[in-house]
């Protein structure tokens, strides 16, 4: 049987269980608790819907309003076998208001309103609480239909491929401005570090499950464990000081990993042994809980936030990433049927977010956490046999206690005549009624209003403006979208 570090420490009597939350064996002087000076007591979570979420069936026109959105929608999405049309009756429970431009009544996908206990109403319930900002038609100039290229563009916030931004993620550039080499401000809930975090200036972690995040112990030589860890740290420190970037990166990652293996596993028991938290633990994963990968991953973030909130040493992550795959619905996308592909995906994300919200509210943290949801592109306006091919602009969501909920931006113009030669909606920064939202305005508003980064610094080091025509490119920022105070 595997021995965990915790069991080792308990068996060897080195420390008591409670002391796991005390000072680290190797105190990391660099993990600062001075964040209040930059962002206050705040957190930021990013959720990536991997594969290209079909925007037209995520925020769907129910009526024409003063335009033709519903007619255009019905021309693009068929009924019958393999048809993807969402009928008004199926959308009645998830209405979100009227399109600011056309006045068409809009609804989010019925999967977001699913009433599965314990989440009670999913994302729609949060929307009704005024905690969800829905951004329509988000994109960037000269869209790419390649998953890889487009997700790289969103993660680097570098649509024009500027060499100065090469190899760094947009969150990484923010972190590099605000944190030192051995700080550990970010965690990806996965095996690998999300590309948004990519940079080499500070350390970020990838943790699938905090409970299992232990440095290996040799059962045959428990007394030697401290010597091994000290030697490992010396190896990493030496490599970290070297000139070769890959070797140094592995050294720094190794050091941050070792430090964190001493503090993160205890976050699990801190959470589940707290009766108030256990209620939510059961909602995320218990027998009557959601037990989806998104719920399980958000639970890990909740454990870490709970730990930071309670002052656990060497745990001070404020930035989190997770992904939920399966959105590349070329075939069998499904419409409103509850066993459809897109329905299940939306249900999973919406319900998990609802439990996460309720958990944070119970912790008294709900006003301190903002969640942003994105996908690398939307899908083709006209469906194929029973799915959709790759498309252009699509919706984003921002969720949190501090968020001013509601509809932002315009529904894209999906009239057949307005589509480009490839059948996709067109990105435009004109003052026209269907003006797109550049995703960098959403990022920038979060950086400026949530993470307190000065606008000038955002523009100079995180989100440089495009050059090009003011209609087709992002040449004027708007970091004051009103979804954050």
């Amino acid at each position: 049987m595997a021995i965990t570090r915790r069991q080792f420490l308990q068996r060897s009597g080195a420390v008591t269980a409670g002391a796991l939350l005390g000072p680290s064996l190797f105190d990391n002087l660099f993990v600062r608790r001075a964040l209040a000076s930059t962002i206050g007591d705040r957190y930021f979570v990013v959720i990536f819907l991997d594969g290209g979420n079909d925007g037209l069936n995520t925020v769907t026109p129910v009526t024409n309003g003063g335009g033709t959105l519903r007619n255009d929608y019905e021309a693009a999405r068929q009924t019958g076998n393999g048809g993807l049309r969402l009928l008004p009756g199926a959308l009645a429970g998830t209405l979100v208001g009227n399109d600011p431009n056309t006045g068409a009544q809009l609804a989010i996908h019925p999967g977001f309103g699913d009433m599965i206990a314990p989440a009670s109403g999913g994302l729609k319930a949060l929307y009704d609480l005024g905690k969800v900002a829905v951004f329509q038609g988000c994109g960037y100039p000269s869209y790419s239909l390649s998953h890889d290229q487009s997700r790289t563009i969103w993660r680097t916030a570098n649509p024009l491929g500027l060499g100065t931004l090469s190899g760094t993620g947009w969150m990484g550039r923010y972190l590099a401005q605000n944190y030192a080499a051995l700080d550990i401000p970010g965690v990806t809930i996965d095996d690998s570090v999300a590309a948004e975090f990519r940079q080499t200036a500070t350390s970020v972690l990838a943790i699938p499950r905090v409970r299992n995040f232990g440095f290996p112990v040799d059962d045959f030589a428990p007394d030697d464990q401290m010597a091994k860890e000290a030697a490992f740290d010396a190896l990493c420190t030496a490599a970290g000081m070297g000139l070769q970037p890959t070797d140094a990166y592995i050294g720094n990652s190794g050091h941050a990993t070792l430090i964190s293996t001493q503090s993160y596993p205890g976050l699990h028991s801190l959470y589940v042994n707290d009766p108030s938290r256990k209620v939510f633990n059961d909602q995320y994963v218990g027998t009557n809980g959601l037990n989806t990968s998104t719920a399980r991953n958000l639970l890990e973030i909740a454990k870490i936030i709970n730990g930071v909130n309670q002052g656990v040493p060497n745990v001070d992550a404020r930035f989190f990433q997770l992904a939920n795959g399966g959105y590349d619905t070329h075939s069998d996308q499904g419409a409103a049927a509850t066993d459809g592909q897109q329905y299940s995906l939306h249900q999973e994300v919406g319900n998990a977010l609802k439990v996460f919200h309720d958990d944070l509210a119970d912790m008294g943290m709900i006003d301190k956490v903002v969640v942003m949801v994105w996908s690398e592109f939307s899908r083709r306006i006209n469906q194929n046999d029973n799915g959709t091919d790759h498309g252009s602009q699509g919706p984003m969501f921002v969720i949190g206690g501090a968020v001013n909920g509601g509809l932002y931006g315009n529904h894209p113009n999906i009239a057949a005549a307005a589509l480009d030669d490839d059948g996709n909606t067109v990105y435009s920064q004109d003052a026209n009624p269907f003006r797109s939202t550049d995703f960098r305005d959403v990022y920038g508003t979060i950086l400026k209003h949530w993470l307190n980064m000065p606008q000038a610094t955002i523009l100079s080091s995180v989100l440089p403006l495009d050059t090009g025509s003011a209609s087709d490119y992002w040449t004027v920022q708007n970091f004051d979208l009103s979804f954050l105070p």
């Binding site: 070297g242 070797d247 190794g254």
Partner: protein, 487 residues
């Protein structure tokens, strides 16, 4: 300047073996040291393209059978090349959901991985696992499904952009190529064209002639028609022939350049110079022959291939590659002379977890790459989670007790009569192939560990306690060191 007649030094022989196989074993290093580069390359490339089929009753079993074969491969280079193509033609059992179809595809890679690239792509067009994975079986005449047509160009052949950042194809080209692939299906593992579901021009005159690359590819404004041999099954071969004639904005054969570049990334180092790729294409004739073996030979005799074998401390510009998890696992087992145990193929010590679970934690399950893009290489392999998974595996190896080839037996690898701490560290790093890859301060960290920071200066490795703690610990630490993650 070296060439194919230059003889391999000990370090170069180790480098060649490490990059073309799974760990450099002492007897192989001895065989190759002093051999001419060309002769060494010929010897490595002389394998017969025999098939291997990772089969079994389920995914887990097929995966384990494959891993087992890598520990004792008929040809390490053949096996390593197949891993490259598996990443290149990334197909995942998660979507295919058929272990038999996946096994067939891997057999195809074993048979054709060192042969002709054009033939390989043409056979991949008709490969049932691929047809499932990228929706060719769901590509019908009325609404062509673009998935395969896009990835064929983006990933398998041309790439989105060329070396100058210019686009290699347009959305129109994707749509047209998707038409060529309409109506394909397979039955009992052989694929065929169902004419009823094929997009014939006469039936869809509005879609225009089946012409591609009118604005890119160097074919002029007329582009190239893929119905040169008539409409029907022959169209998809014609598409590959045209793609392989495509030239980029700098006038180079686009596919040849890109495949050479990718093979250099895999076998030589990350981010290889464009000139390096162009030189390899030129000397091998790959742009006209598309024969893979001569291209590989050109790489293995080139000076630039050997630059990253330089000893520590590494210069800032030395391009080190991160070992793939499969390479980490298989080369460690081979260097330690160990096997995995039982149907679950586990290390008989430590966690007792199956190799399937351990490789999953390290971020690489064969037969199940994370997406059509394959795995994220280099620092993409490295995270706190994947590092810990590697470290767990190292701990498991060195704590493996029992009998025979599944236990850790350092006495078969080195002289346990050594008592000098520095000599012991040298012996262990030599077994693990990193004796010249550690800096003096890293070496000192290992000596400090062994001697408890100088408290014990004479070590008796034959003492059971010392052996179980310090010697096993030393092996594990070296396998956990940053330098050992590189090659």
């Amino acid at each position: 300047m070296g060439d194919e007649n230059s003889t391999l030094s000990n370090a170069e022989a180790r480098h060649l073996l490490r990059r073309t196989g799974f760990g450099a074993l002492p007897r192989d290093i001895a065989t190759f040291t002093g051999t001419a580069r060309g002769d060494a390359a010929d010897k490595l490339l002389a394998f017969r393209p025999q098939g291997f089929r990772p089969s079994g009753r389920d995914f887990n079993a097929a995966h384990n059978k494959w891993i087992k074969s890598l520990i004792k491969p008929r040809s390490p280079l053949q096996a390593k090349l197949v891993l490259f193509w598996h990443d290149h033609f990334s197909t995942a059992i998660a979507k295919v959901e058929d272990v038999g179809l996946m096994g067939d595809q891997i057999t195809l890679l074993y048979r054709e991985g060192s042969g002709n690239f054009k033939t390989l792509v043409k056979d991949m067009n008709r490969n049932p696992a691929m047809m499932e994975f990228l929706d060719t079986v769901r590509n019908r005449k009325h609404v062509p499904n673009e998935n395969y047509a896009r990835e064929l160009q983006e990933l398998f052949t041309l790439g989105v952009t060329d070396f100058a950042g210019q686009p290699n194809y347009t959305q129109d080209d994707i749509v047209q190529i998707a038409r060529a692939f309409t109506g394909w299906d397979y039955d009992r593992r052989s694929s065929f064209l169902n004419d009823d579901e094929h997009d014939f021009m006469a039936a869809f005159p509005g879609r225009g002639p089946k012409v591609i690359y009118t604005t890119v590819g160097g074919f002029g404004p007329a582009g190239r028609s893929f119905t040169v041999n008539g409409e029907g099954a022959q169209e998809i071969d014609a598409v590959i022939d045209i793609i392989c004639q495509h030239t980029d904005s700098q006038g180079h054969n686009t596919v040849a350049r890109r495949i050479a570049h990718r093979l250099l990334e895999y076998f030589a180092y990350p981010d290889p110079e464009n000139q390096f790729a162009d030189d390899m294409v030129a000397t091998s004739g790959f742009a006209t022959s598309f024969e893979i073996t001569p291209l590989l030979r050109a790489i293995f005799v080139d000076d630039r291939f050997y630059t990253t074998s330089a000893p520590a401390p590494f210069a800032a510009g030395t391009k080190k590659s991160v070992k793939w998890p499969v390479d980490y696992v298989v080369s460690s087992l081979r260097l330690l002379g160990m096997r995995l145990k039982g149907r679950d193929q586990y290390v008989d010590g430590g966690s007792g977890r199956s190799i399937f679970d351990q490789l999953s934690d390290m971020g690489q399950l064969l037969l199940d790459p994370p997406s059509v893009f394959g795995w994220d290489w280099e620092t993409g392999w490295i995270s706190s989670a994947t590092l810990l998974a590697r470290f767990d595996f190292a701990r498991d190896l060195t704590s493996a007790r029992g009998n025979g080839g599944t236990s850790f037996r350092p006495e078969r690898l080195m002289d346990l009569g050594l008592t000098d701490p520095t000599e012991i560290v040298n012996a262990v790093t030599d077994v693990l192939g990193v004796s010249d890859q550690l800096t003096s301060s890293e070496r000192q960290a290992l000596v400090d560990y062994l001697t408890d920071s100088g408290t014990n200066t004479s070590i008796d490795l034959n003492d059971d306690t010392v052996r179980n703690t310090k010697l096993n610990g030393l092996f594990a630490l070296v396998m956990q060191s940053p330098a050992y993650q590189l090659h």
